[in-house]
């Protein structure tokens, strides 16, 4: 690689990282507790669990569950209802002022066998909520999400340019060399290169899947336009089905599950909400294999007649979104994987921090001579083989 190329890549690496580093540090730090949000919820006692009952205890009708939840908030509508992944003894019912997307939601946890209200968990307050909002949208809604997505894109650019620069920096060094006995800047440069190249694939995957997650709202909107609009032509000009006109949700659920044998219910989106249509209750079911359990299949059930209208195959972009979620969260391989996620996250914090340090201390290691007359960078091994510190420093320093 010649000097000009190194300079260009160094410029790209410097500016892409400088712009995103502060936000990436924020994301890494807030992401750390989020890796363990279930465990932290258990410790804080905010995790809701249904009391154990013998298998086969009869369940009450879902319509009854919804009535119980609605009685708590008579002025609200039900947007979603869901059951935890491994616990069908529990329904979470989400109530909002209107079917439109909002941050103002109330949650009611109802025992699916006794109809008892187990909790009214507040998902919109506390330490974990603040971590979550800072991580997802900086408390700024969709613009905040898209902004963080753009920062994620810059991270990917920084990673790629960092890999390109790895070779001129490491050409005289063995893998894993950290020159500790020299100046601190050299040690941090080596650590930056070492941790950066070792965590490369993980950072790239978590960064890219995080960026994809920021597009979730848009992808779902596009899905409605792309796939649902054709299904909804017969309902044209009809308003959102009023609650009084709706058929039994229990019967709708039975129809949906009958339509998708071998699948399990994940969540229900009610008419007019962002995951459904104005005329349907949409049941999202998932497979029972390890991989297919991460993918949803929507089943649209006519809210009035409780008959299945259609079960459109999930388009590729929503499949990509759903697969990118576990890859970002690290929640798909048990506790050891969560710990590995946390350690790699810490390594990334060190890479970001050392990168910032190297930029702040950029003047300090420039050899006096090269300040006056920058040497062309080492495009021939012989050129720097005599130098005590093999780095392609001159080109970098001039840039920085």
């Amino acid at each position: 690689m010649n000097t000009r190329k190194i300079k260009t890549w160094a410029w790209v690496h410097k500016w892409s990282s400088l712009v995103c580093t502060v936000f990436m540090l924020l994301l890494c730090i807030t992401g750390l507790p989020l890796i363990f949000h279930h465990e932290i919820g258990h410790l804080l006692g905010t995790e809701v669990e249904a009391p154990k009952m013998p298998a086969g205890t009869p369940h009450i009708s879902l319509d009854r569950v919804l009535d119980i939840a609605k009685a708590q908030h008579p002025d609200r509508v039900v947007q979603f209802a869901s059951q935890p992944e491994d616990d069908d003894g529990l329904w979470f019912v989400t109530l909002t002022p209107t079917p439109a997307p909002t941050d103002d939601f109330k949650s009611v946890a109802v025992d699916s066998r006794t109809g008892q209200i187990l909790a009214q968990p507040k998902f919109d307050e506390g330490f974990m909520y603040v971590m979550f909002k800072l991580h997802v949208d900086l408390f700024a809604g969709l613009p905040g999400k898209l902004f963080l997505g753009f920062m994620g894109l810059l991270l990917l650019v920084a990673v790629v340019s960092g890999v390109v620069l790895y070779s001129p920096f490491m050409r005289k060094l063995d893998f894993g060399t950290v020159r500790r006995e020299k100046r601190p800047r050299l040690k941090w440069l080596d650590l930056h290169n070492l941790l950066g190249i070792v965590t490369l694939v993980w950072v790239f995957v978590v960064g890219a899947t995080g960026m994809i997650n920021t597009w979730a709202d848009l992808l779902i909107k596009y899905w409605q336009y792309d796939q649902l609009s054709a299904l909804l032509t017969p309902y044209k000009n009809e308003p959102v089905v009023a609650v009084s006109e709706r058929g039994s949700v229990q019967r709708s659920m039975e129809a949906a599950l009958q339509h998708s044998p071998g699948m399990k219910l994940s969540f229900i989106a009610f008419p007019g909400t962002s995951f459904s249509s104005p005329h349907h209750t949409t049941f999202f079911v998932r497979g029972s294999e390890p991989f297919t359990s991460k993918l949803f299949q929507p089943v649209l059930v006519d809210a009035k007649t409780t008959e299945v209208t259609a079960s459109p195959k999930l388009p590729w972009y929503l499949t990509a979104l759903l697969v990118s979620q576990p890859l970002h969260f690290g929640d798909y391989g048990g506790m050891p994987m969560q710990i590995i996620w946390a350690l790699l996250d810490i390594a990334t914090i060190i890479v970001l921090g050392s990168g910032l340090y190297l930029w702040l201390k950029r003047g300090n290691t420039v050899p006096a001579a090269s300040k006056v007359k920058p040497k062309p960078a080492a495009h021939e091994p012989a050129e720097i083989s005599g130098s005590p510190q093999p780095e392609p420093a001159p080109a970098m320093k001039v840039q920085a």
């Binding site: 790895y166 070779s167 490491m170 050409r171 005289k172 063995d174 893998f175 894993g176 060399t177 950290v178 020159r179 500790r180 006995e181 650590l191 070492l194 941790l195 190249i197 070792v198 965590t199 490369l200 694939v201 993980w202 995957v205 390890p290 991989f291 359990s293 991460k294 697969v323 576990p326 890859l327 798909y332 391989g333 048990g334 050891p336 994987m337 590995i340 350690l343 790699l344 390594a347 060190i350 091994p381 083989s385 005590p388 093999p390």
Partner: protein, 66 residues
């Protein structure tokens, strides 16, 4: 540390370990997707654990390598 000359400056010397670690990471990330508490998860712990160990090993130890 005195010896700065390496006769072999080849591609594999520079990129061998990064490629191996990258492949291990890729394998681990994918294998756990297809497993629920089974072999795929264990393989993921090992293959993703190796880069972590490499970070700690080279990043932490005090004595220089050579």
């Amino acid at each position: 540390m005195k010896d700065q000359h390496h006769p072999h400056q080849g591609f594999w010397r520079m990129w061998g370990w990064p490629i191996v670690l990258g492949l291990l990471t890729t394998f681990g990330l994918i294998s756990a997707l297809f497993s629920d508490g089974g072999l795929g998860d264990i393989l993921a712990w090992i293959t993703l654990g190796i880069p972590v160990v490499v970070c700690v090993w080279f990043g932490w130890r005090k004595a220089p390598a050579r």
